[in-house]
Symmetry: C2
Subunit: 192 residues, 2 copies
Amino acid sequence: MSVQERKQRERAERERLIVATARELAEQQGWDAVTTRRLAERIEYSQPVLYSHFRGKREIIGAVALQGAAELATAVRAATSAADRPRARVVALARAYLDFAARNPAVYDALFQLDGGLAYAQEDTPEPLKDAFAALLETLGEVTGDGVQPGLFTEVFWAALHGLATLTRAGRLLPEDAEPRVELLVDRLAMV
Amino acid sequence: MSVQERKQRERAERERLIVATARELAEQQGWDAVTTRRLAERIEYSQPVLYSHFRGKREIIGAVALQGAAELATAVRAATSAADRPRARVVALARAYLDFAARNPAVYDALFQLDGGLAYAQEDTPEPLKDAFAALLETLGEVTGDGVQPGLFTEVFWAALHGLATLTRAGRLLPEDAEPRVELLVDRLAMV
DNA sequence: AATCGATCCTAGCACCGCTAGACAATCGAG
DNA sequence: CTCGATTGTCTAGCGGTGCTAGGATCGATT
């Protein structure tokens, strides 16, 4: 029995290695550089091994995305829990979100820009994604204002953050004015 | 002389054909399906002809993007000019923007999602892009509110719209609630 | 120790963006 | 009108991509 268990452990370990390597390579040189050949070479296995763990490249992207979603949720919760007043919590949330996107561009791309084959806003949405949204909802729910559904408010606030994150990263917005943009967004959207 | 002129005209015509075909193909089957081979086949020329008009595929995407920017600006101006009160203009702007993104997903991708090799937020930004931003600024400038730069406000509002557009298109937001999201966004962000 | 199943790799498919070089059509000079 | 030069286009091919079939090899079990 323990032989099989060891094999399973090694297999799981190798799968982690694949995801970590893909993520690392993507952060270093962009997702375009993450080819199955390069990835296989880095983990020191041949290409087909990748396909014994994942259906294809998109599933590898999806795995990185799920990892990122969990980290994003953690980062947001850590930032908001450190602030005591509602407005400060929202500001902290916004900063943490944009900071995460800026520091982990490849992961953010895997989450929201690339096709990782993940289902969103549905019944079978993976848990980490639902939880990341929940992390936003926890803080934004208390500044939603009257007559508005917290879920709807969170979607709009999230969309605004997402827009800022992607447009900034794509060079459409200059990063210098990031802070006043956050201030403006929070001042107007959040009912504090 | 007129022979050369005719050739130039034919060349320009063929260039339009390339851009139009690329756009059409992208809208029909997505940008992944826009390969140089398929594109060449559709315009009934060989691949290298494409490279006598554009440096490469990204420049073709860029050409579609510029076309889209001009149309977006037109659509926004048409929508806003049909409304008489400031709030109605902002709502019309938001609807027109999201509508454009929903109706021309491939063009919207070329503009903001893909790499078309275009410069943004800079000195040498192509005119259509600057003009599209100007179209937003014209309407949003009058609802910016005190103590805020219209440019900054426009960036934030635009980012929110962009976020809604992309997240909706990617299946991250359900399209059913689009209208209340717009209402919420305008109610909160615009100082009417 | 022999067997047999799991595991992995080599080799290759069809496709991608892009380009060198051959070829044909057209133009201008004599 | 002829002939060389120029312009335009195409065929063929390069190195790369994601992905997979099929053979080889290894190791656990009998």
